[in-house]
Symmetry: C2
Subunit: 423 residues, 2 copies
C-alpha cells in the first residue's frame, strides 16, 4: 500500500496540519493508520513512522527558506505556516571543515557537524520542535518528557516559548547543573525517586492514564523522530547538495542514525542529490554498547545491558531502534564501534584542541570512535567523512575537569611571566 | 582628511589584507595612520578605529554570502577570502520575535537577538574572529588576551582551530567551569595571582615588551571592536533590511553599543537600509554602573568605580568607551539605566520562562533594564524594540541555582504523581 492511499487523518485535524505527511506506517509489518497520537502498530505493536506523499521540491525553494530546520518544511510532518508559530527555531548549525583533526587522524577530507549551536545546545532541539508542532496540531494540553539532561532542557525551553503547560520528569539525584538548566524554564519540574528507567515507566503510565499529554519521546515519538532527518538534510545541503561518503553518528536509542539514513534516501528519491554510495557508522561508549556488541557478533537482536559510562546522554541500555541501526550499518557497509570512558575523555580534548569545539561526552564518544575506525581500517581515510557532535561540553564539565587547567600560576609581573618559558 | 586618502598600509601586508579598510582614524582628533598593530593615536593618544573606502554593496550580494558574519566581509577589516580561512564561523544568530516577553512587559513589538548560539556561546566569538584575521595578516606569532570568562573561551577556541599559538591570562581564583571551558582548548592558560586589573596590566606590559603578540583587546583592539558591528548588521537584515526603532544593549567597556550604532550608520550610508530614526539604550548592573551614573548626572566623563555585581562579564569599572556610549545615547535620544543584582536574577528567569532562552547574568541585566525602561516611561511601548542577549546561562548557573528547582519529589507511581496536583 502506497503512503499516498492512506486513510484520511483523524477527525478534528485542520487541513495540512502535518504538511505532506499522509499517515503512520508500521516499521515492521508496513500496516498503516491515520495520523494521530499513536506510536505502536494496531496490527503487530511494531513502532510507527511517518509516511508522506512528497510534491516536487527544488533546491532553490529550500535555499530561499529560513535559516533553521523549517527550510525543510515540505519534508517534515509540520504545517506550511510552521515558521511563524512560536518555536525555538533550531538547526542550520555549522558544518566545519576539520583540517587539523583530519591531519591528526590521517583523514583526507573530514567535516564536523556541530549541533552544540542549537538553542539549548544539543540536537534535541530539532526533534522537540517537531514534537511541539504535533502536540499543538493534535490539540494536546500538556507538553512533557522523561529525561536526564539534554531532552529535559529542550522540552522545558520549547514549552515555555510556546506558552504550553510543560511537565518534565527527572531522576531525583540528577546533577545540579542539569536541574537548573531545566528548572529555569518551568515551575513543573518533577523529581522522581528512582533511576531513569523508573522515570520512563512513570511517563508511559501517565501517557496511558491522562488525555492530552504529549510525551515527546513516547506517544508523539513518530513525529519527534523525524526531526533527526534535518541533520542529514543540512549535511547534504551544506556540502553543496551532495551526500558524504562516510558519516559517524552516536547511538543512544539509535533513532538519530536511522533518521539521517532516511533523510539521505528522501533527498535521493526527490532528486535533490545524486544517488551516490555512503556508509553509516555508529558510535557507542563501551559501558553501554549493546548495538556495537550485536554488530560485532553478527546478531540481528540487541541484548539489553545495564549502562555504566560517563556518556550519560548515550546511556540507553535497551535502545528502541537498535535493530534498525544494525540494518542501516550493514546495508550501507558501515559498522558500529565502541570506546572506553578514557578514550571518550581523550576524544573531547582532541576535538577541542584541534578544532575549537568543546563537546559533551557523547561528542567525545563519536570522535574517539572515529579515531578507532580509522586505526582499525574500517573507515576509508581517502573518503569524504562527516562526524557529528550532538551536544555541549558545558553540560558535562566533570568529564574533563580534572584533566585540564592552567599551565602555571604566576605573580602579576613580566619577570614572573618570562620565567615560565612561554616566550 | 577622507579615509580614502589615507597613507598606504604598513610594509609587508598582502594586498587586500584588510578588505576595504584604508587606515586607522583617531576617534578624538581624527588624525589618521596606516593599518598596523596600533591602537593609540600618535598625535593625541586617543583610541583608534578603522576607516574604510566602501564600494557599492547590495543586499543580494550579502544574502548570497555564508550564514555567518563573513556575509558582511565588504564592511569589515578582513580579506575577501576570509570565509575559507580556518575560523570559528560565528554569527547569524537567532532574532526571535518575543510575543510572551513583550506581553509581560507591555511592549507591542519586541525581538530578542540571542547571541548565545555562537560557537563558544557569547558575542565574543564575533570580535575574536576579526582579531584573529588581523593577527594573521599582521603576521603575529601569538594570539592572546587577559579575561575572566567569555573572552578567554572565545580566544582559546579560535586560536586552537586556527592552529595559532594561544596564551590566555586569567585571575588565579576564577571559578572552575570558566577555567575548564578555556583550558580544554589550550595548554597555555596562565593563572595570575591578582584580580582582573592586575591581569590586564600584565597583558599590556607583555604587549609592549614582546614582538608579535596579538592581544585581541589591547593592541589589535581597533580590528576586534569592528566585530560588534555585525550584531547591528544582522538585526537590520533579519528585520527585512530595516532599522529597529529602539535597541537595548549591555554596557561593559561600551564598545559593543557604539559599534552597533556605527553598523547602523554604515548601512544607511551604503543605502542598504532607509535612514529611519532609532534610539540606543544601554544596560548596566547597579554594582558597576559608571556610565549610567554619568548619564543620569548629565556628565561627559565617566568616573571609574570598583565593581561589585554578579554580572561579572559586565564588571568593568573604568569602561574605555564610556564617553562614546554617552554620546550615542544622547545623540539618538536613548538612555543608560542600571538594575540591582536581584533584578538581574529576575531578568534571567523572566526571559527563560517567557521565551525559552537561558541567559547569563549580562542578559539578565539587559532584560531587567528593558523592564525598568518601560516602567519609567523611557522606552516607547509602541515602537519596534530589539533587546540583546549576549551570553549563556550555563556559564553563570550560580546566579539562579538557589532560585529554581523541582516543584516536587515523588515516588515513581501514578498515584504519587496525581497527589501533587499537576493534573
Amino acid at each position: 500500500m502506497s503512503t499516498s492511499t492512506l486513510a484520511a487523518p483523524a477527525a478534528g485535524l485542520r487541513e495540512g496540519a502535518f504538511g505532506n505527511a499522509t499517515g503512520l506506517v508500521c516499521r515492521e509489518c508496513r500496516a498503516t493508520q491515520p495520523l494521530g497520537p499513536f506510536y505502536a502498530c494496531q496490527e503487530c505493536f511494531g513502532p510507527l513512522e511517518i509516511g508522506y506523499d512528497f510534491p516536487a521540491v527544488t533546491r532553490e525553494q529550500i535555499e530561499a527558506g529560513p535559516k533553521n530546520i523549517w527550510r525543510y518544511q515540505p519534508l517534515l510532518p509540520v504545517p506550511a505556516d510552521i515558521a511563524s508559530s512560536p518555536n525555538m527555531e533550531p538547526g542550520f548549525t555549522r558544518l566545519l571543515k576539520a583540517h587539523n583533526l583530519g591531519r591528526e587522524l590521517g583523514l583526507k577530507n573530514l567535516w564536523v557537524k556541530d549541533d552544540s549551536g542549537n538553542p539549548t545546545h544539543s540536537f534535541k532541539d530539532r526533534v522537540v520542535a517537531i514534537a511541539l508542532s504535533a502536540a499543538r496540531e493534535l490539540d494536546m494540553k500538556v507538553f512533557a518528557c522523561p529525561s536526564t539532561g539534554n531532552l529535559a532542557n529542550a522540552v522545558a525551553a520549547a514549552g515555555a516559548r510556546a506558552g504550553m503547560k510543560t511537565v518534565v520528569f527527572i531522576p531525583h539525584d540528577l546533577e545540579i547543573p542539569k536541574v537548573v538548566a531545566s528548572a529555569i524554564y518551568t515551575n513543573s519540574l518533577v523529581a522522581v525517586r528512582g533511576n531513569y528507567d523508573d522515570v520512563n515507566r512513570l511517563a508511559s503510565e501517565i501517557a496511558g492514564e491522562e488525555d492530552g499529554w504529549a510525551f515527546v519521546n513516547v506517544n508523539v515519538r513518530p513525529y519527534y523522530a523525524e526531526g533527526s532527518k534535518t541533520l542529514g538534510f543540512e549535511v547534504a545541503e551544506q556540502l553543496g547538495w551532495r551526500l558524504p561518503q562516510q558519516v559517524v553518528i552516536p547511538v543512544a536509542s539509535g533513532s538519530q542514525l536511522t533518521k539521517v539514513d532516511k533523510g539521505f534516501q528522501e533527498l535521493v528519491s526527490l532528486g535533490l542529490v545524486e544517488d551516490t554510495p555512503y556508509k553509516i557508522f555508529g558510535a557507542q561508549a563501551h559501558g553501554c554498547s549493546p548495538v556495537s556488541a550485536a554488530f560485532k557478533d553478527g546478531h540481528d537482536v540487541v541484548r539489553p545491558v545495564k549502562p555504566d559510562t560517563i556518556a550519560k546522554s548515550l546511556a540507553i541500555g535497551n535502545p528502541a531502534d537498535g535493530p534498525y541501526v544494525l540494518d542501516v550499518a550493514r546495508r550501507t557497509g558501515g559498522a558500529i564501534e565502541d570506546v572506553t570512558d578514557e578514550e571518550v575523555r581523550d576524544g573531547i580534548q582532541l576535538l577541542a584542541r584541534t578544532e575549537g569545539i568543546f563537546a559533551e561526552t557523547a561528542g567525545g564518544v563519536t570522535i574517539a570512535t572515529l579515531k578507532k575506525l580509522v586505526e582499525t581500517g574500517q573507515l576509508d581515510p581517502e573518503a569524504e567523512t562527516v562526524v557529528f557532535n550532538t551536544g555541549d561540553g558545558l553540560k558535562t564539565l566533570d568529564a574533563v575537569a580534572d584533566r585540564v587547567g592552567p599551565a602555571a600560576t604566576i605573580d602579576p609581573s613580566y619577570t614572573a611571566f618570562t620565567a615560565i618559558g612561554l616566550v
